[in-house]
Amino acid sequence: MSTTPKMKSSFFLGCIAPNRYPGIEVATIKTAKNLGLELVELKGAGCCPAPGAFGSMDLLTWEALAARNVCLSEQMGLNCSVVCNGCYKSLYDVNEKLKENPEEKDKVNKILKLADMEFQGSIEVRHVAEQLYNDVGIKKIRDSVVQPLNGIKVGIHYGCHLLKPGRDRKFTNPEAFGTETPRFLDEMVEALGAKSIDYKDKTMCCGAGGGVRGYKIDFALDMTNEKLRNMQAVGVDCIVDVCPFCHLQFDKGQAEIAEKFGDKYNIPVLHYGQLLGLAQGMSPDELGLEAHVIKVDSLLDKIV
């Protein structure tokens, strides 16, 4: 759509990106800008709130706090973009539910009134990754590459809440966004000159969600360990995710797994925004990669 004006969204940060992996925040803003998507501050946003934790305790609290975040974006008259699958679950699901269900909307609005807010249902919630694929397109992503990634082998981790449950999602391209064998991220990674390597149980969860990381960390890490084993078996050079919580689970999780179970992998973990940043010629320091628990030097040696 060549007539589309410059794209602009509010940028909902969530918690883990700004407060644990700010490299993801900066990489996303800069790379999106290079592709004509302007992400502007969403002042006063908070936690999405975490769907596993809050959805488990009280669905109405989850809906009201998520709707508050959506309202902030409505007040700016902008669609809202997220970089985290968990944030997507909260903001997208609640936004759609309240748009479709007037009774639930009234219930939530009664609570929001206490915060001087009212949910209108006037905007869309998007994940930056699908926005880049659907609105910007693979060709423009490819054209933005100045440092092709030299065929590095990438193990893609889709995570859960962007795509599942598929019946509640409205992606118009079922082949790319299917829940069993999604392709959109594979295409986006390969557009940068990297190679996406298939591995066993590729669409499996990282293990962190649902409050399990907080309640039973050994169960959560055992799942992560299984995914790492499957990726190591096919020799990936790095893991690429689109969710800071999965990102933390794979990055920090590798140190925890080494300590608890004695299994060592040292596989660098990058959010797609950071991989795109490298391909667009940004330095590892600029993308916050040196702050990751798992060092990325082995990967960088293969690119340059």
Partner: protein, 179 residues
């Protein structure tokens, strides 16, 4: 648990309970034909005692107390694979969330869940900023605090009013008082 260790007394079952779970997001429970796609698809159940099909059956039979007191309902990582694959369009993940909601009202939620509510009440974030991260943010050319409730605390009272109104903070306080 009831299904294995004793003859089921169906009078124990509470039909209202099943309807309540359905009302709270677990719609269509009654059409579950126990095919086991949920348990077979569950990556978490492969490493612990979470058995989604069993939970679905226990809900249909109205075994409220056994379910709300079970530790297993808290093992689900909410990956939604069971919900995505269910041939009967039942939503086992949402059934489990509904059960957790009911357990929370009975003060049976694990502590770490309530702790999240506390962090958000205080800061707006379940994972708040810290000094090491502030330094990293500045190094990356970002503001030391993100433009969220961290930079604009005037938005916090709105969040606190919401949390007070839904009763979640009261549950948290009651649970803490008991300990």
């Amino acid at each position: 648990m009831a299904l294995e260790s004793q003859v089921l007394n169906l009078n124990k079952g509470l039909v209202n309970f099943t309807h309540e779970v359905e009302k709270n997001g677990g719609e269509n429970i009654s059409v579950c034909y126990q095919c086991g796609t949920c348990t077979g698809s569950c990556p978490m159940g492969r490493r612990n005692a979470l058995r989604t099909r069993k939970i679905m059956r226990m809900v249909a039979l109205g075994l409220k107390d056994d379910l709300l007191k079970s530790d297993e309902i808290w093992y689900c990582a909410t990956c939604y694979t069971c919900t995505d694959r269910c041939p009967r369009h039942v939503k086992p993940t949402d059934v489990i969330l509904a059960l957790r909601n009911m357990a929370t009202k009975q003060h049976l939620a694990p502590k770490n869940f309530l702790a999240n509510a506390g962090y958000i009440y205080q800061s707006g974030h379940a994972v708040p900023n810290n000094d090491a991260n502030r330094a990293l943010r500045v190094k990356l050319g970002l503001t030391k605090d993100p433009p969220t409730t961290h930079m604009y605390p005037e938005y916090l009272p709105g969040i606190q009013k919401i949390l007070d109104a839904t009763g979640l903070m009261k549950i948290k306080a009651e649970m803490e008082a008991k300990k």
